[in-house]
């Protein structure tokens, strides 16, 4: 005899109803689902066992005694191992994984209130090294997964957003970030696929790992409306020590005495001059930011929807930079018929960016303009260089430039996919997907005519550019699932073709009749230039990729799982005889806790061992580098002429990586303690690279007028070994108070194991144009991007120094004489170590000066909950990496013709032993401050004091308090009277403080080019951000 049981299923964490929960009578096959409001009704017999289950919640079992009401509160699953993670072209429970995949939930991501989601991955995902490239609002980030494996192109992972592959992120300079159209508030989760057994299904594009972003989707149930907003401001964390006007004048006076020229009448009495302009003060501001997001989601059993709209507005901390994002997202899923499911993920984004501060290099200008120049003159006009006696440096007023120059980028982006999933049988289904990313960008520049003091008057300049990039993918794949008793099989087979096309056009004109008319038309037509459709400006332009792929996954008794992947890719980036390549991988997982010998051990929730191996391939080079491309240039001989743009390499082919990975996922004590550890060994062969050949090759890797683009070649082999470790612990869990800690730690050892061309001397070296010399030289046996140069050993300060230290030599190998005169080495010059002991200083005394690759990167996250309060404190850090402080080189050089750091005041000061004796007698001179690193005042640099040396390479280790957030959630009781479900308010400080020995603005320096990694070139620094906000859920 059956009785009626009714009740409501709610979630234990927020008391919200759970619609669609399964309520089953155990062993009978009878079951119902809860309704939208969480209520259910089921007929059962007393003694029956009711099983309540819902994805993401722990099962609950209740034995029926009589008719009546049974309300059930389901607990969210605490173990990470039950969560569902995204694998290529599908999903799987974490406990069933064979590959190395790290995941982060949207809520954890948003703790730092990032402008773009990639910034927020820092320190949160083991094995992922995230470095900010620019603190420009919405600016770029470099991400490396398990070390630098490939060093060509962007070196960034593949980004897949709801199945849409975002085309490889090129180096967009220091300005904008192509991923910045995505609103972090819309992200449900991010899965980072790290080893080959996880990535191989994505084939060649996934050589640097895959970042899979899943946006939130609607769930069946009552409409869920949320409103999130925050508001705050940002300010610069650190200023560099620039000389004030009095210091500057005093220094220039002292130098003019030695030089015999460059003295300035207006500097006669420095003490009356005042402090002059503090350009960093003038340029940097306290900048507001605001974010609003409204999301509505819901649906019924057939159709689920999520509609989200957001507005984000941020000013940059440097004048002339801001960022506005408007976005709309629509995610729809519809179970059309029993056998057909269709849906879409769509995002529309509109971005207005002012990138003037970066494009006009105002930050570097602010460091190089001297304090005697006023920001504005007494009449209100902008100040400029007015030095009447010396030379006029073409340095324009950066504050003026930031304000009067326009450089606006507008992006309209549509990306998303539509899919149809056809279920042929219970086991077999076919998914068709059409994905696209359509990007329309315009850039509007206007530089008015201006005159600042004596600095160069400039005519007005108008530039307009428009570009569109179309990226489309057609993908079809079959999946098959079947259980044969204890054996479970799932399999996948598919085809994918991708095409990337672009168009762009730009024009410029000069001499607008007025600064008020700024359109391209207003300029003088006779000065017009135009260009368009230039594959050089878009290295990924016009490429295509076609692939076949398959995967088989076999598991037995929920104990052993075997996965095999294979994929065949053809790339247009290689000559036809090298088009195709095969990527494959295999993985094995063993759930040790399901074995009999562990079943009885209490406290072990999960213990999963994973082993993987794979061969992956990389094709990330621009198209058509295997032939000489002829560019059309102007010629007065024939109107046009053909310039050879690149040095071709007809032998260029795929790069391949052998990847071994082993990992353990474990969870203990009902999820209170968990850890994941992975060790990996990756060997990359046929490393693809734009080879930095000696300059006598007539080529350059990068920009160099008149040089051909250096060839792309397979230059050598690279090894990455390391481990990633993540531990999650609930330290305290009581009614009112809980404390959770998570720690991630990554260690990567990078070593170049061979470099083919060049024999014993083979190297990959990179030149700094500031010092006009090689500062980076990668050789076999060392990590990639290693710094290289001389070892600084003090300054010449006493007579014996000239005996104990070798002197630089002229082109014929003869040491320069010790002399005060030009052409000699003298007191105050820098001493370098004669490492080869041959008695002279020359290139043979250069050595490795340390690596920009950190020995460890780590993150420590602590979350405290006390009653309705929550507190999150997040630290991230890096240890053992070196930074090339390029910005400081000119500022620390007394021979410079621009501004100086105050350190220059401590230039080597010469004195005479016998004041009446000769100043040119080597035995009668000494340096009064022998411990200084700043050279003396001379108008001669025979010693090449700024040769690349250990002084320029600094320790970049840091510990950053990345984020502190304090939140308060109002109790539901309080809210029940108004129509609000939940309210949380919070206050956050981001980039709270940094502990570092590094002397520049910020030790965290990313780069897309591993050969220029750790070069501080005066990037836009990361600001300190204060925000307050609220998350509101409406009924």
């Amino acid at each position: 005899q059956t009785v009626a049981i009714t009740g409501k299923v709610t979630s234990s964490d927020n008391s919200e109803p759970i619609p669609g929960a399964n309520i089953k009578i155990k062993g009978s096959g009878t079951g119902v689902a809860s309704a939208l409001d969480g209520t259910y009704k089921i007929m059962a017999k007393p003694g029956d066992i009711l099983e309540f289950s819902f994805l993401g919640y722990e099962h609950q079992i209740i034995t029926i005694k009589q008719a009546g009401t049974i309300n059930v509160r389901l607990n969210p699953t605490s173990s990470d191992l039950n969560e569902v993670v995204v694998v290529g072209y599908g999903k799987r429970a974490r406990k069933d994984l064979t590959g190395s995949i790290s995941s982060i939930k949207g809520d954890d991501l948003r703790q730092t209130q990032p402008t773009t989601f990639d910034q927020a991955l820092q320190g949160k995902v083991p094995g992922v090294i995230v470095q900010q490239i620019s603190g420009q609002p919405g600016g770029g980030v470099s991400i490396q997964i398990n070390g630098v494996s490939s060093i060509t192109g962007s070196n960034s992972p593949l980004y897949v957003i709801d199945g849409v592959i975002i085309p490889p992120v090129g180096d967009p300079g220091t300005g904008s970030n192509p991923l910045n159209t995505i609103n972090p508030a819309e992200i449900e989760s991010i899965d980072v696929l790290k080893d080959a057994s996880a990535t191989a299904i994505y084939g060649s594009q996934a050589n640097n790992g895959v970042v899979v972003i899943t946006t939130k989707r609607g769930k069946a149930g009552a409409p869920h409306i949320t409103y999130d907003f925050y508001s705050g401001f940002q300010e610069i964390s650190k200023r560099l020590p620039a000389m004030n006007l009095q210091q500057f004048a005093t220094f220039i006076n002292a130098r003019a005495v030695v030089w015999g020229f460059d003295s300035r009448a207006d500097f006669a009495a420095p003490q009356y001059l005042g402090l002059g302009t503090d350009w960093q003060n003038a340029l940097f501001r306290r900048a507001p930011e605001n974010n609003h997001t409204i999301t509505v989601s819901g649906g019924d059993e057939k159709t689920q929807y999520l509609l989200s709209t957001s507005y984000f507005d941020q000013e940059g901390i440097a004048l002339g930079s801001d960022f506005k994002r408007y976005s709309v997202r629509l995610n729809l899923d519809n179970q059309t018929t029993k056998w057909l499911r269709i849906g879409t993920s769509l995002q529309l984004a509109h971005i207005n960016e002012n990138v003037n501060s970066t494009s006009s290099s105002v930050i570097n200008t602010a460091l190089s303009i001297t304090p005697d120049v006023p920001v504005t003159n007494s009449d209100g006009s902008y100040g400029g260089v007015t030095d009447p006696s010396g030379v006029v440096q073409p340095v324009a007023n950066p504050v003026a430039l930031a304000q009067i120059v326009k450089d606006l980028k507008t992006r309209n982006q549509v990306f998303g996919n539509v899919y149809a999933e056809i279920k042929f049988t219970k086991d077999l289904s076919l998914r068709n997907e059409l994905s696209g990313n359509f990007d329309f960008t315009t850039e509007d520049q206007f530089s008015p005519s201006y005159t600042f003091g004596k600095s160069t008057p400039s005519p007005s300049f108008v530039s307009a550019a428009a570009a569109q990039n179309f990226y489309t993918v057609i993908r079809n794949f079959l999946t098959y699932n079947h259980n044969f008793n204890k054996l479970h099989i799932d399999a996948l087979a598919g085809h994918e073709s991708q095409e990337n096309t672009f168009q762009n056009v730009s024009g410029t004109r000069r001499n607008s009749p007025s600064n008020d008319v700024q359109g391209l038309n207003s300029g003088d037509a006779t000065t017009a230039t135009n260009s368009g459709d230039n594959s050089q400006s878009n290295p990924t332009g016009g490429s295509a990729l076609e692939s076949w792929f398959g995967r088989v996954n076999v598991s037995w008794d929920d104990r052993y799982t075997l996965t095999g992947n294979i994929r065949r890719d053809g790339s247009s980036n290689f000559p036809s005889y090298n088009h195709w390549v095969t990527t494959y991988s295999g993985g094995f997982a063993w759930k040790i806790n399901h074995e009999d010998f562990l079943k009885s051990v209490k406290g072990i929730d999960e213990l999963n061992l994973r082993l993987g191996y794979g061969l992956t391939n990389n094709q990330a080079i621009p198209g058509n580098t295997f032939v000489t491309q002829l560019a059309t240039v102007s010629s007065s001989l024939s109107g046009t002429a053909q310039f050879q743009n690149n040095l071709p390499n007809p032998d260029v082919k795929w790069e391949s990586t052998n990847d071994y990975n082993a990992g353990i996922d474990a969870s203990f004590l009902n999820g209170r303690l968990g850890f994941t550890v992975d060790v990996y060994d990756r060997e990359t062969h046929g490393l693809l690279l734009q080879v930095p050949l000696p300059e006598y090759s007539g080529t350059v890797a990068g920009y160099g007028p008149g040089s051909m683009q250096a060839p792309y070649a397979n230059v050598g082999s690279l090894s990455n070994k390391g481990f990633d470790f993540q531990i999650n612990s609930t330290n305290i869990k009581s009614q009112n108070f809980s404390w959770k800690t998570s720690l991630t730690l990554s260690r990567n050892i990078n070593k170049v194991t061979s470099l083919g061309a060049g024999g014993d001397d083979a190297n990959l070296s990179e030149k700094s144009y500031v010092i006009n010399d090689i500062i980076e030289k990668t050789v076999v046996g060392q990590p990639i991007g290693e710094f290289y140069g001389y070892v600084f050993d003090g300054i010449f300060s006493k007579p014996s120094d000239f005996k104990t230290h070798a002197l630089p030599a002229d082109p014929n190998g003869n040491p320069y004489p010790v002399s005060q005169a030009g052409g000699g080495i003298w007191y105050g010059d820098r001493m370098f170590k004669d490492l080869n002991g041959d008695g002279i200083i020359d290139s043979r005394d250069e050595t490795a000066l340390g690596s920009p690759i950190p020995k460890f990167q780590y993150g420590i996250n602590n979350t405290f909950n006390y009653k309705n309060f929550d507190l999150n404190i997040f630290f991230s850090g890096s240890y053992g990496n070196k930074v090339f402080n390029q910005v400081a080189v000119p500022e620390n050089d007394p021979q410079n013709h621009a501004a100086f750091f105050t350190s220059v005041l401590n230039y080597a000061k010469l004195a005479l032993v016998n004041p009446n004796g000769s100043a040119s007698d080597v035995n009668n001179v000494y340096v009064t401050n022998p411990n200084t690193t700043i050279v003396g005042l001379r108008n001669d640099n025979t010693n090449d004091n700024n040769r690349p040396n250990s002084l320029m390479i600094e320790d970049g280790s840091f510990l950053r308090c990345k984020n502190i957030t304090l939140g308060y959630t109002f109790s539901p009781k309080l809210l029940s009277k108004i129509s609000v479900n939940s309210v949380r308010v919070f206050a956050t400080v981001t980039n709270v403080f940094v502990i570092t020995k590094y002397k520049g603005m910020d030790p965290e320096i990313g780069s897309w080019n591993p050969l220029q990694s750790g070069w501080d070139q005066g990037y836009y620094p990361q600001p300190k951000v204060f925000t307050m906000g609220a998350n509101i859920a409406l009924k």
Partner: protein, 518 residues
């Protein structure tokens, strides 16, 4: 997908594999070798700096790299040294690409004569680049096929005599395959023979000493330079102008590619940074006369030493080369009634703004002046010097004739005998700020090192390398005494530039002794 799905040739750039189908295609390929970005680094960043500042003809005190050249304390990190090196090898890379592509891929329907002529143009230009490399650096790596560097990137230097031999071989090929006449601006056999004369004159001193040169090589120089002088049918621009304005007018852009020009870089306006001739942008004494009134960043100050070389009658060449306080230049900044100089400064290469030249596209970065790398007057003086050879003086009829043609065009009195000194002075004046004087001094140092070193040091003893002021009322020049660069004496090492340290670090083999090429 279709098979062609993966074939994605660029739709804005042609591939060299399928380009060279007709003679006119060859002409488009060789046209790019005459100017544009591959010549930009050398022309703007090294040519006058090494040729004239290093030799003591001009100076600018606020650029540390230029100061190093001026005081001859040049280090391997000097940016000008790097730019010269990179710039010349950029030119060589383009020439090599054209030569190899024509040889390997040009359509068989193109006549051998046309192919050889196009190769001849490229070899001529390559030879000019290698010649400058040899003069500046001595032993340098010789590269004929840049694509081989992909497999074997690190080269040794080649001994300097082999570099010159390579230059002479290229020029001989060019002399044999280039036509006697061609479109305006293109090189001809006379360009190649004139250059060959100059190269043989240089080679004649190599490895010699005591002031004696190899007579056989001098004879070769006489043969080729003499052939240009006597048989080319060319003459100096406005040789017979009664007002002797020929020299002045030669450097005005309306007379670009005059018959006197044997090889000029073919600059065009409106091409912006990195592609054009921006000599005046940097070196003009004032921005007021430049396009958009922008520039004059490194106004080159002529030295007192140079000024003293001009005789009283030598006013046309002086005014065409350097400005003195009070000089009026009606052709510059015509909209404002011409430019009246307020100080000493450079004039050659300063051509004024876009309106002065009726060239609306000319921007600050792209002057339309075609810079002359080799001109007939240079070959005349080479011919005279080759005839003088190992004699102390000469009164040889040909030598005197061509030497005096140079002088008479400028309205200066003829001479009756020639010595090494009169020749060196004449070359310095005639070719001032054309990058030649350092080449002359290096040539001198080859066969008479002791005196060449002394010659350099004497400039300093006299403070000749110092700039000067000029009083237009008293017409007196006063040597600037405020800034005396105190510099150690020159040595024979002073005649060789250091190889850029970035190159030596990348390719340690460059620090090893040079090896033969042949």
């Amino acid at each position: 997908c279709k098979k062609s799905f993966l074939d994605r040739p660029s739709n804005s750039q042609i591939s060299s594999n399928n380009f060279y189908k007709s003679t006119s295609d060859l002409r488009l390929a060789t046209a790019s070798l005459y100017g544009g970005s591959e010549w930009w680094q050398f022309n703007n960043e090294a040519w006058l700096q090494i040729g004239d500042v290093l030799s003591g003809t001009g100076s600018f005190q606020y650029n540390p790299d230029l100061v190093q050249l001026f005081t001859r304390t040049i280090t391997a990190q000097n940016g000008i040294v790097t730019n010269g090196w990179v710039g010349l090898y950029n030119v060589i890379g383009q020439c090599n690409g054209v030569i190899n592509a024509i040889q390997q891929t040009a359509s068989s329907s193109i006549s051998a004569k046309d192919k050889n002529a196009a190769i001849g143009e490229a070899k001529f230009i390559r030879a000019v680049a290698y010649y400058h490399l040899a003069v500046y650096w001595g032993a340098v790596p010789i590269i004929e096929d840049n694509s081989k560097l992909i497999k074997n990137p690190l080269l040794n230097r080649n001994i300097v005599s082999d570099v010159y031999k390579f230059v002479a071989n290229d020029l001989t090929y060019a002399a044999n395959n280039l036509p006697k006449t061609d479109d305006k601006g293109r090189v001809t056999t006379w360009s190649a023979q004139g250059m060959l004369g100059k190269v043989y004159l240089t080679m004649a001193g190599l490895g010699q000493s005591g002031g004696q040169r190899d007579q056989k090589l001098l004879d070769s120089a006489i043969k080729y330079a003499g052939n240009v002088c006597k048989n080319s049918g060319l003459q100096l621009f406005e040789q017979n102008d009664p007002n002797h304005q020929g020299y002045y007018d030669l450097f005005r852009p309306v007379n670009n590619d005059s018959p006197e020009s044997l090889f000029s870089l073919q600059w065009v306006g409106g091409v912006g940074y990195g592609n054009g001739n921006d000599l005046q942008l940097y070196f003009s004494p004032t921005p007021a006369i430049l396009p958009e009134k922008e520039g004059g960043w490194e106004p080159l100050a002529p030295t007192y030493d140079l000024y003293q070389m001009y005789s009283a009658k030598d006013t046309v060449r002086r005014k065409a080369t350097i400005m003195l306080n009070g000089d009026l230049y009606p052709e510059l900044d015509q909209a404002d009634g011409g430019y009246k100089a307020t100080a000493t400064g450079l004039k050659k290469h300063i051509i004024g703004n876009e309106k002065d030249n009726n060239a609306p596209t000319m921007d600050p970065w792209s002057s339309i002046e075609h810079t002359m790398i080799l001109r007939l007057a240079d070959v005349y003086l080479v011919y005279a010097e080759a005839i003088l050879g190992n004699n102390t003086t000469t009164a040889d009829g040909d030598a005197i004739k061509y030497f005096n043609l140079v002088r008479s065009r400028a309205g200066v009195d003829p001479v009756l005998t020639l010595s090494a000194t009169t020749l060196r002075t004449e070359r310095r004046v005639e070719l001032a700020f054309e990058g030649q004087y350092w080449i002359d001094l290096v040539r001198y140092s080859y066969y008479d090192p002791a005196n060449a070193v002394k010659f350099l040091n004497d400039q300093d003893v006299n403070h000749g390398r110092i700039s000067f002021t000029y009083d237009p009322t008293t017409k007196t020049a006063t040597r600037d005494t405020t800034a005396t660069p105190l510099t150690l004496p020159a040595t024979i090492s002073s005649f060789t530039l250091p190889i850029p340290s970035s190159e030596v670090t990348t390719d340690p083999k460059l620090a090893q002794p040079p090896v033969p090429y042949y």
